[in-house]
């Protein structure tokens, strides 16, 4: 039961990673690509981490997995913020239509 739930979560996470990569490749400009990144980061990794937590051997391992997710979340939020403001400062207009 737990194992199959874990598999489902991992698969869902993988799907979001796929979505992130496709978005990275297909979206037209840097701002929309930002969205692709955050989907993969927040959700993809989150689901994978959740799936792995179900298999984890100890509470400490669960905690470590959670911290990793939080850290990458913070990093990607910061990166998005920095990159977006950089793009704006350097005169890249958002894609419209």
């Amino acid at each position: 039961m737990l194992a199959s739930l874990s598999v489902v979560l991992l698969l869902a996470g993988a799907a979001f990673f796929l979505g992130g990569s496709v978005g990275m490749l297909r979206f037209p400009d840097v701002y929309t690509r930002l969205h692709a990144l955050t989907k993969a980061d927040n959700l993809g990794l989150g689901l994978v981490v959740l799936g792995l937590m179900l298999q984890a051997e100890s509470l400490a391992a669960v905690g470590k997995l959670f911290v990793i997710w939080l850290l990458l979340l913070a990093a990607s939020a910061t990166a998005s913020q920095l990159v977006a403001s950089w793009a704006q400062e350097n005169g890249f207009a958002p894609w419209r239509g």
């Binding site: 850290l71 913070a74 990093a75 910061t78 913020q81 920095l82 403001s85 350097n90 005169g91 890249f92 207009a93």
Partner: protein, 338 residues
């Protein structure tokens, strides 16, 4: 379902091919910034390869250095080499057009990284390239053949390491080799780091980083991350006694903390930038050498810790080495003398 057994091999093939492709692109793409970005990616993939090979200590060090100090060093050097790049790239409508012409206004011809000197005749160059290509292919073939020949299971020194592990003072084999069995190498290697820093300082290429006010979000992030990095460094030293981790990895993370602090505008207080900093930088070699020589007075050989004390001696050395490695790596990034 026999094809399933091929999955691990497929993973390794993808990793190997990606590694080769990244190396090739990093070495041949016309734009230097792209080259550096691909090189940083190369480091991450290499970290995955180490993980696949179960050489986790190396994976830790590769990731900690590649994503931390080395990457930051390369990017900082690039920013000083190509100061006008941003202006040149600012055409918002461009979709890949400008990546093919790295030489932009403000960059002189040499940053454009044209391949070969132009004064030799074309035929001569083609001939030279052909000869070199052949030689390299022959070398690749020979090296591959030798690797292939070496391909029979061999335990190397694993057994001897395991036999003497209880006397080493730590439970993790790699740490035992680094800090005890081959501690002399490690001592000298920290000296290599310090030497590089002395060399960098003697060149006095003052970095112009960190003189602008940091972004608020960056300051917030570094306030969050820097203490965490120090915590993780301490954890890595502690865990190194019985699992992958240790002074190098911890020092690399510590160095990365220094890089992050510097990037977010933090500077060492003026009072600490003189000899206190130098003391920290020299601490690793000094403590290691001091303990290594002091044991001679106890009738032990050079760098031979008595078994009863080995654990404590190694811990003290590791702590000093971590501090020094971290400080040296951060100072290497900062560049110019404090």
């Amino acid at each position: 379902m026999a094809w399933l057994t091929g999955l691990p091999l497929a993973v390794d093939l993808v990793l190997g091919t990606t590694l080769l492709w990244l190396a090739w692109r990093a070495l041949s793409s016309p734009d230097l910034f792209q080259a550096v970005a691909l090189f940083i990616a190369f480091g991450v993939i290499l970290g995955l390869v180490w993980a696949r090979l179960d050489t986790i200590d190396i994976a830790l060090a590769e990731i900690a250095l590649g994503a931390g100090v080395t990457g930051a060093l390369l990017l900082a050097a690039l920013s000083q080499l190509q100061p006008a790049e941003v202006d040149a790239r600012a055409a918002p409508s461009a979709t890949g057009a400008n990546e093919h012409q790295a030489g932009q206004p403000g960059q002189t011809a040499e940053t454009a990284d044209a391949d070969e000197a132009q004064h030799k005749p074309a035929v001569f160059r083609a001939l030279l390239a052909a000869v070199m290509g052949l030689l390299l292919l022959a070398a690749l073939f020979g090296l591959g053949l030798v690797t292939w020949q070496l391909w029979e299971p061999s335990s190397g020194l694993t057994q001897q390491v395991n036999t003497h592990l209880p006397e080493s003072g730590v439970e993790h084999p790699v740490t035992a080799v680094l800090l005890n069995f081959r501690g002399y190498d490690t001592l000298l290697e920290i000296a290599v780091l310090l030497l590089a820093l002395i060399g960098v300082w003697s060149l006095a290429t003052a970095s112009n980083l960190g003189d602008t006010t940091p972004e608020p979000v960056l300051a917030a992030l570094s306030r969050l991350l820097a203490p965490l990095m120090i915590l993780v460094a301490a954890y890595l030293v502690w865990v190194g006694a019985h699992a992958p981790g240790g002074a190098f990895q911890a020092g690399s993370v510590l160095g990365a903390a220094g890089v992050l602090l510097r990037l977010s505008g933090w500077r060492l207080p003026a009072g600490a930038a003189g000899w206190p900093l130098r003391l920290v930088l020299a601490l690793g070699v000094a403590v290691f050498a001091f303990i290594g020589i002091a044991v001679i007075g106890l009738g032990e050989p050079l760098l031979g810790y008595p078994t009863a004390w080995a654990k404590h001696a190694i811990l003290v050395i590791e702590l000093a080495a971590t501090l020094s490695i971290g400080a040296i790596l951060a100072s290497l990034f900062i560049g110019g003398r404090p």
